[in-house]
């Protein structure tokens, strides 16, 4: 229906946008193998040596471990709470239902500094020292919506009648949940968890407000870039973080095959 010129124009535009989206990402991959410690284009040569020196760095290892731990715990909390909200909103009619689904989105719909600042003043208010656990609380708060979005999207697609059939055939509530409901939503739960983990693993804005002396990996990267220190290692760590967020996302994408639920 579109004219030939429009088709050509749109195709060129798509190519341009894709180039815009991917040149920086390809650049990150290339720079991680830069043999020089001066960051200029084109890179001086190809080397693996910065991978070794990055993993030998105990600061980086500690930060990586902390990020993984915080990500796993925050994701677990998010899966439990996010799916609970999804079930409640989908299954029941109650007063303030819109408000609940709105509230769940707030931590990512509001600017990051608001969530960070709010949590920070909350911890200061109650005299809670900033620690590993305050990082986890922050991450869990904005990860809940990711799980919620995934699970509720799935619940809306699976027919309620399957569960009714299960009950009619004599299964009790637990059996129905275990044998019917859970298998139907399990991939959306896993996808939600993977995405929540990826989000947590990469988050920096809220984390700066909720971390005390601890460094997550993104906090380490941010500090190092700002000070202009250890840039060759930064290149490597940045590539590792990108890969570690990318793999769960791709898995999640395969599991859901539905783009709508993936938008943060």
């Amino acid at each position: 229906m579109e004219s030939r010129a429009a088709r050509i124009g749109l195709t060129i535009w798509v190519g341009f946008v894709l180039a815009f989206l991917f040149v920086p990402i390809i650049l990150i991959i290339v720079y991680a193998f830069n043999s020089s410690n001066i960051q200029s284009w084109p890179i001086a040569g190809f080397t693996f040596k910065w991978f070794g020196s990055a993993f030998a760095n105990s600061e980086i290892r500690t930060a990586l471990l902390l990020s993984l731990k915080a990500g796993v715990i925050a994701t677990t909390i998010a899966v439990l709470l996010g799916s609970a909200v999804a079930f409640a909103v989908h299954r029941f009619e109650f007063f303030g239902k819109d408000a609940v689904s709105f509230m769940v989105v707030l931590p990512i719909a509001l600017p990051g500094i608001i969530t960070g600042m709010a949590l920070n003043s909350f911890f200061v208010f109650w005299g809670l020292g900033l620690s590993f656990w305050t990082i986890v609380i922050g991450h869990a708060t904005f990860c809940i919506v990711i799980v919620y979005n995934n699970v509720i999207a799935r619940l809306r697609r699976v027919p309620r009648s399957l569960e009714e059939a299960s009950m009619d055939l004599g299964a009790d509530a637990w059996q129905t949940f275990r044998r019917v409901t859970l298998p139907m939503i399990s991939t959306s739960l896993v996808a939600g968890a993977l995405l929540a983990f990826a989000l947590s693993f990469d988050e920096v804005i809220v984390t700066t407000f909720t971390a005390g002396a601890q460094n997550t990996l993104p906090l380490w990267i941010f500090g190092a870039i700002r000070l202009g220190q250890r840039l060759p290692e930064v290149n490597v760590v940045v590539l590792v973080v990108m890969t570690l967020t990318f793999v769960p996302v791709l898995l999640a994408y395969r599991l859901t095959n539905q783009a709508g639920a993936m938008v943060k």
Partner: protein, 308 residues
């Protein structure tokens, strides 16, 4: 032995099953109780931690810090807000943040709309899957990695100047300027615009395009009278992200901005991290909060939340 064990196990399982049945039947008859049980933990989390935190933020904005001891003085005062609005610097920072957030949102709409249109209307189902994967990859790739990449691109001997010199231009120094921030923000949040706009365009039935043309509208008229109005909720949903995310950022200004690129977020961050003046930071953070509250309530009317 075994059979006795089996019997005992069977009886216990039966009892358990009967228990489950009784509880589930009771819950089935009282949906309010089930909903309450499901909602209690997440609502507790949100109300006790997050909403309480937002409240704490709002309250502490009306407190001050004793400049001698650094302790928080819990007396109600508008001092922080007065400091903000009486300082031209603070107002300039707020306006700069707003201006760049608006510019980024418009840029992303312009970049995303034709792309999403291609995805929804011209791409084959297979191309559609490939394109949406290609959009989601950068969306979920590390934020810091992508900002850092632009630092490398803008560097004096980086990719940008290399390309410019290749085609015979002089190198440019746009790293550490507001231009750099504008490009980087537009880049970082672009996928957040593409996805909801695509979702909105995809929902427009094919027949509407045909109807519009059958009724004599030319392509441009169809675009402006049918396609764009119907995709508005998607555009608004995307703009919530691009606008809000830019408004609340302080990493990009630090990494690619220059001396004149301070954002609201930087002032907030510095007051929390360096000067330890949490009340002032809280007061300053209420500016984007109020802006977003107005924006979200306006967006809600357009039905954009269906597209989030």
């Amino acid at each position: 032995m075994i059979s006795r064990f089996q019997t005992a196990y069977g009886t216990a399982a039966d009892a358990l099953s009967r228990g489950v049945r009784r509880v589930s039947a009771a819950l089935w008859r009282r949906p309010a109780v089930s909903a309450g049980l499901l909602l209690l933990p997440p609502l507790g989390w949100f109300v006790l931690i997050y909403l309480a935190a937002l409240a704490a933020l709002f309250i502490s904005a009306f407190w001050t810090v004793d400049s001698m001891t650094g302790d928080i003085v819990r007396d109600w005062t508008l001092q922080n807000f007065r400091t903000i609005f009486e300082s031209p610097t603070n107002i300039a920072i707020a306006l700069r943040t707003l201006g760049i957030a608006t510019a980024v949102t418009i840029t992303d709409i312009v970049l995303a709309f034709p792309f999403a249109y291609f995805m929804a209307r011209l791409a084959s189902p297979r191309q559609r899957i490939i394109l949406s994967t290609l959009v989601l990859v950068p969306l979920w790739s590390s934020y810091l990695a992508r900002v850092y990449a632009w630092r490398l691109i803008f560097a004096g001997d980086g990719l940008l100047n290399w390309c410019l010199r290749l085609v015979g231009f002089d190198g440019v120094e746009i790293g550490y300027t507001n231009w750099a921030m504008w490009i980087v923000f537009s880049y970082i949040w672009l996928p957040f615009m593409i996805m909801p706009v695509y979702a909105a365009l995809e929902r427009i039935p094919f027949s509407l395009f045909e109807a519009s043309q059958d009724l004599g509208a030319r392509a441009w008229r169809t675009l402006f009278r049918v396609v764009i109005p119907m995709s508005m909720p998607g555009v608004v949903a995307g703009s919530i992200f691009t606008f809000s995310l830019t408004l609340g950022d302080y990493i990009t200004p630090v990494l690619v901005g220059g001396p004149g690129s301070t954002f609201i977020g930087n002032v907030v961050y510095n007051n929390v991290g360096i000067t330890n003046n949490v009340p002032f930071a809280a007061a300053y953070a209420t500016i984007p909060l109020v802006i977003m509250a107005l924006y979200l309530s306006a967006a809600r009317r357009t039905g954009a939340f269906e597209h989030l």
